[in-house]
């Protein structure tokens, strides 16, 4: 399992180890609750939903979850540093809005420019958080508001995108797997490896666990923070591009709206605490799948949108409540 806890939060002090056996149960639930819920919901659908286990249905679910997952992976990294990124939805809109403007210069060029826009927004967020010391929620809130405005200024109204290779990116597939899904899977594996196997990943988790300690230990705190927000911006831009490719249009007022909340929910349900110091990539993947499956299940059974939202609200609270369990520190109780 791709689960990394900072030394500051796990092996904190010796006396705690005596209570460790008592904490195993709640820890197990916290770690695996999302997987259990996912399996149960899958079983429910296999039994009670007609035409669920068809290739078409499953493929559609995966295609729909892919952009959310890509954004959630970046969000997981940001949350791991005890930050938050509210700007991702606006970045998606911005990236999508730029595509029709530059598609004339070639598909690659337009995608490159869109990704660069995501990097720029992430860079601004990172510098504000790391160098200026603005709280992540405020810095990214400002960028969210301004970013959506900029996207609207570029894009204006809905623009259709007519480009063969761009259409292929959104609707084509490789070995039967849609490109969109394949890209999301590759990104998930890469981010998982980065968190587990690289110095950057270790540093990120250490900073989220205890920023002051990480600083005193001589870790490049500012650089890691900036990199993390840049990655989040880049992944959000990627998700925006894929959504635009799928619908072959960009709609800057609607695209990516409330995506920040979906992504945060997926990450938190996946067991990554908002208090930082841990990044759970496999949990995030399961969290995104679970939220998608909940929505789909409600739709399959013709439950109205209103009830769907209410059910989601209850599930989010229940999931987080279970995760908090007994072994929580006071720190994780703050915002």
């Amino acid at each position: 399992m791709t689960d990394t806890a900072s030394p500051a939060t796990t092996g904190a002090s010796a006396p705690e180890s005596s209570g460790r056996s008592r904490r195993v149960d709640s820890d197990w639930v916290r770690r695996n609750g999302v997987f259990v819920a996912l399996v149960l919901l899958l079983l429910f659908n296999l039994l009670f939903t007609d035409n669920f286990a068809t290739e078409g249905t499953l493929r559609l679910q995966l295609v729909q979850v892919a952009p959310v997952l890509i954004v959630a992976l970046g969000m997981a990294l940001v949350i791991g540093t005890e930050g938050i990124d509210l700007s991702v939805g606006a970045v998606m809109a911005l990236a999508a809005a730029l595509i029709p403007l530059y598609i004339g210069y070639g598909t690659g060029v337009s995608i490159g420019i869109s990704l660069a826009a995501g990097v720029v927004v992430g860079l601004i967020a990172g510098v504000l958080v790391a160098h200026v010391g603005v709280q992540p929620i405020v810095a990214t809130l400002g960028l969210m508001v301004a970013g959506r405005g900029v996207a609207n200024l570029f894009g204006g109204q809905i623009k259709s995108i007519r480009d063969e290779s761009f259409r292929e990116l959104g609707t084509g597939s490789i070995l039967g797997i849609p490109y969109v899904v394949a890209i999301a899977a590759v990104i998930a594996v890469v981010v998982g490896l980065v968190v587990r196997r690289t110095t950057y990943g270790r540093q990120l988790v250490a900073i989220g666990g205890n920023k002051l300690a990480a600083e005193l230990a001589g870790l490049p705190v500012k650089r890691v923070l900036v990199t993390t927000y840049v990655v989040s911006g880049l992944l959000a831009a990627m998700a925006g591009i894929l959504l635009a490719a799928r619908s072959q249009a960009s709609d800057p007022t609607k695209l990516g709206l409330l995506m920040e909340l979906s992504a945060i929910t997926a990450v938190v349900i996946g067991g990554t605490p908002l208090s930082g110091g841990q990044v759970r990539i496999l949990g995030t993947v399961a969290g995104a799948l679970l939220m998608q499956l909940i929505t789909a299940t409600l739709i399959f059974h013709n439950i109205q949108d209103s009830w769907a939202q209410i059910v989601q609200a209850v599930i989010v609270i229940a999931a987080v409540y279970v995760q908090l369990g007994r072994g929580t520190t006071r720190k994780s109780r703050k915002t």
Partner: protein
């Protein structure tokens, strides 16, 4: 304007030289938004003849009054170190309930939305205070829940309830006293009460103490849980009351209102100098934050050639600018 600072980091900086700088920084922290507000007002009044007209200023004040209600509750929530993402949805729900209730009498139009919204606030407060769940997640679920309930009441948003033509409920927001519209008077009254509650009651002292350091507040024997619950109830009630006002103002329960309004309220509070870390802030500052956002909107509407998307860009940039300024100037104070 009086600000209350109980953040321990501010009180024990020993150097005398730094103290004067800290005082200056604190002044900017509190008055930065006010300075920009005055600047925008002066520039606007020279640029547009109609800006200082009675009609335009009244329009700004009335438009700002709805957001002001949300921002007042948000100020208290943020002072406790929490956040309330549900207010936009609760505001919309309050409006729909008030419009529906007005068909059964003015009393119902007030009692029903306040009852339902207060209940939502109570549940959120209990889950946060007693359950120990992060406010961010709980109120995010509250956002979904309130919006779901609203959709349920309105046939998935298709139905708009109208306030009956002769209803005295319309007077609430459509009448004025000596030329000052009721909503504006109500905002002034509520903010005055808010300031009194913060500075003159033990509840207000508890709010700031909890935001400053929750553990310490608990050890001092302050009613931490009760204070938190009360704060979230107050925030939901104020949001609901804002909804009642807009229902009266528009004579209907508009279902699509309030999306993203929670973020505008947070932006206004932060602009007003309240720290998102809790423990410090001003009531009047939030009012100025609200007015600043509204004046910016008004100015951009007056510049005919500018797209309304500039509103978002300018508002977001000003938020980031003010926060950056605050951080740079308070750096000496906080590190």
């Amino acid at each position: 304007m009086s600000a209350t600072e109980v953040d321990p980091a501010t009180t024990n900086s020993p150097e005398a030289a730094m103290a004067s700088r800290a005082r200056f920084a604190a002044l900017v922290q509190r008055q930065g938004a006010f300075a920009i507000f005055v600047l925008v007002m002066v520039v606007a009044s020279f640029s547009f003849d109609s800006f200082l007209s009675r009609g335009n200023l009244t329009g700004i004040a009335v438009q700002a009054s709805f957001l002001a209600m949300l921002a007042l509750g948000m100020t208290f929530v943020i002072m406790t170190g929490g956040i309330d993402l549900s207010v936009g949805s609760v505001f919309a729900l309050g409006g729909v309930l008030a419009a529906w209730g007005s068909q059964h009498g003015t009393l119902v139009a007030f009692a029903l939305p306040l009852g339902v919204c207060g209940l939502i606030g109570l549940v959120q407060g209990l889950v946060i205070a007693r359950g120990g769940l992060p406010p961010f997640i709980v109120t995010l679920a509250g956002l979904l829940f309130a919006r779901g309930l609203l959709l349920l009441l309105t046939d998935e948003g298709a139905k708009t309830y109208k306030v009956p033509a002769g209803s005295s409920f319309r007077k609430l927001a459509q009448s004025d006293l000596l030329g000052v519209p009721y909503p504006v008077l109500l905002v002034v009254l509520f903010f005055a009460i808010g300031a009194l509650v913060l500075h003159r009651t033990s509840y207000g002292a508890s709010v700031l103490a909890i935001g400053g350091q929750e553990d310490a507040a608990e050890l001092m024997g302050l009613p931490v849980q009760r204070t938190k619950v009360l704060t979230y109830v107050a925030s939901a009630l104020l949001a609901g009351f804002g909804g009642i006002m807009i229902a009266s103002y528009t004579s209907s329960g508009v279902t699509i209102l309030g999306v993203g309004l929670e973020l505008e309220a947070i932006a206004a509070v932060v602009l007003g100098g309240t720290l998102l870390t809790g423990g410090a802030g001003t009531i009047l500052g939030s009012l100025i934050g609200v007015l600043l956002l509204q004046v910016i909107k008004n100015v951009i509407n007056q510049v005919g050639s500018l797209d309304s998307d500039w509103q978002a860009v300018v508002s977001g940039s000003i938020l980031l600018g003010v926060v950056t300024l605050q951080r740079w100037l308070t750096r000496a104070e906080r590190t």
